[in-house]
């Protein structure tokens, strides 16, 4: 039995195509949102490379590598979830969604731990009144760091909410009524957020010289 079709769509394929187009249009806007943040980063990095040489080594690239791996595996399990949603494999779908959520939550937990560590060491984006006139310093570097990673973390949090909603819906819905399109839409969003991190990781964590 094909997926339930809503007005004004003629058939499930038509409906799925419309969901994909809408989602990509939304992600196009998200590309430009994060693009502006990356422009902020690029402008600062080009004008003040010394900031990155001095402060990027304070970021923990080992931890960030673990976080990268967690997000990559979560994208893999998300792709499986989309497949299971379309084939109506209900138990596998709930399992794949839950695994994706656990990996996303692990990413956020590590991020929170990292933030706490930075705050303990005074690595915060405060306005450095005493340092005015001496050029940008630690607070500027960590300003960029917190803005970029903070907005990314908020997107991960939003994705977790959507995944939770999908998992509960899949749990309550009989397999024959499962719909693939909503899972696909959330999947596209989740993969996009993963891609943003794939650029943040080298841009911030690998920007300093990594001494062994």
């Amino acid at each position: 039995m094909p997926e339930a079709v809503r007005e004004p769509f003629a058939d499930p394929a038509h409906q799925r195509d419309a969901v994909a187009l809408g989602m990509w249009a939304f992600l196009g806007q998200e590309v430009l949102f994060f693009g502006v943040l990356f422009v902020f980063y690029t402008s600062l990095r080009v004008r003040h490379p010394e900031l990155f040489a001095a402060f990027a080594p304070r970021l923990d690239w080992r931890l960030a590598t673990v976080m990268t791996v967690a997000l990559l595996i979560s994208s893999f399990t998300m792709a499986l979830a989309v497949r299971f949603a379309f084939t109506r494999a209900r138990r596998s779908l709930v399992l794949a969604l839950s695994t994706t959520m656990i990996l996303g939550a692990a990413f956020l937990a590590l991020k929170g731990w990292e933030y706490a560590h930075h705050f303990e060491h005074g690595e915060t984006p405060q306005i450095d009144l005493a340092g005015l006139g001496r050029g940008p310093g630690l607070a500027t570097f960590f300003g960029v760091y917190f803005v970029l990673t903070g907005f990314h973390a908020l997107h991960v949090l939003g994705g977790l909410g959507a995944l939770g909603w999908l998992a509960v819906a899949a749990w309550r819905t009989p397999a024959s009524d499962l719909r693939g399109s909503p899972v696909m839409a959330v999947g596209l969003y989740w993969h996009f957020v993963d891609i943003v991190w794939l650029f943040l990781f080298p841009a911030l964590y690998l920007a300093g010289r990594l001494a062994p």
């Binding site: 004008r47 792709a79 596209l188 990781f201 080298p202 690998l206």
Partner: protein, 97 residues
């Protein structure tokens, strides 16, 4: 376009994951090399772009979507490139900022 699942097969998704993990290891290893900073940035961002392309092509199955959908994705990347290019030209060569 697609009556069936648009998602990759489990085997294709797993291969993409392995490639992404290998590229992650590569980019971390390259960060330890003694290279000019500009080369470091170019290498790291190229690898990130390849990883993003893999995610888009395999996990996000963009090539299986309708032409209008592919166009929307392409335009957003072109706009971002123009934005980034002009800002870099300004900051590096025109004394902007």
């Amino acid at each position: 376009m697609n009556h069936e699942s648009p998602a990759p097969t489990i085997a294709a998704a797993f291969l993409a994951l392995l490639a992404l993990l290998a590229l992650t290891a590569t980019t971390v290893a390259l960060a330890f090399l003694e290279l000019p900073p500009a080369v470091h940035v170019a290498l790291a961002m190229s690898i990130a772009a390849i990883k993003a392309g893999l995610v888009v092509a395999v996990f996000m199955h963009l090539m299986r979507e309708a032409p209008a959908t592919r166009l929307v994705a392409l335009v957003s990347v072109i706009l971002l490139s123009i934005l980034m290019l002009l800002v870099v030209v300004d900051v590096r060569h025109l004394g902007g900022g």
